[in-house]
Symmetry: C2
Subunit: 136 residues, 2 copies
């Protein structure tokens, strides 16, 4: 869980260290507000001209990876959030599997925050939800 105005590089390191598919982003009041997927951060660190023409990636030296960290430096989590994963509601601990699945499907999010009595309890990932739905 990271705050919306916290350091984007620190958030990326958290995703990396814990091998998370994504992370819950909280607003200024500390409430779940958005979701930042690891794949979005990857998109952010790839230079724009390479996204337009991926064949150019081969021309870059491995030093380009060092510059990847530079792309995140000085940015906040807000700067790297994808548009469609802002205002993602938390689900409540007592919601049914199908309610949680519906929210996840609507936002195309890899995970959702779970709250109970107004407190953040944790996070549910798409694969954890499948485990519950399929009883594996």
């Amino acid at each position: 869980m990271v705050a919306i105005d916290s350091d984007a590089l620190a958030a990326a390191k958290l995703l990396a260290e814990h091998r998370l598919p994504g992370i819950v982003v909280t607003d200024a009041a500390g409430k779940p507000y958005a979701v930042l997927p690891a794949s979005q951060v990857v998109r952010f660190i790839v230079p724009g001209y390479i996204q337009d023409d991926p064949s150019l990636a081969g021309v870059l030296s491995e030093n380009a990876a060092d510059r990847a960290a530079e792309k995140l430096r000085g940015k906040t989590v807000r700067d790297v959030l994808p548009e469609h994963l802002r205002d993602v509601p938390a689900v409540h601990a007592d919601e049914t599997i199908i309610e949680v699945a519906a929210t996840m499907a609507r936002f195309r999010s890899p995970l959702l925050a779970v709250v109970k009595d107004g407190e953040l309890m944790g996070v549910i990932t798409a694969s954890r939800l499948l485990a519950a739905a399929l009883k594996v």
Copy 2:
């Protein structure tokens, strides 16, 4: 790793059991061909009328979760693949981080297959790639 014409329910169970953010899908020749994210399977098991109006999810009983498995039964992996994650190329073990990131960014995929000497070596996730790029 699952074959394109294999059982969708079995693939969903694999994602669930191993808590994977997604799985590599191989074509009839056994070559990496596509990526099936867990979030896509979640989308698939939510009834269409609930995706259109999520408030309806609350009306369903928890039995709806049992029916989720029914939605996958008789379907193949091909049936549940998202359009944009077909024809996702594998990356080579000797590609640079920035080359892998560029391919991941282009397909907006949570993971990619990694091949070496024509053999599938494994899978790299977005968070694993961030770990390499940020040296954490």
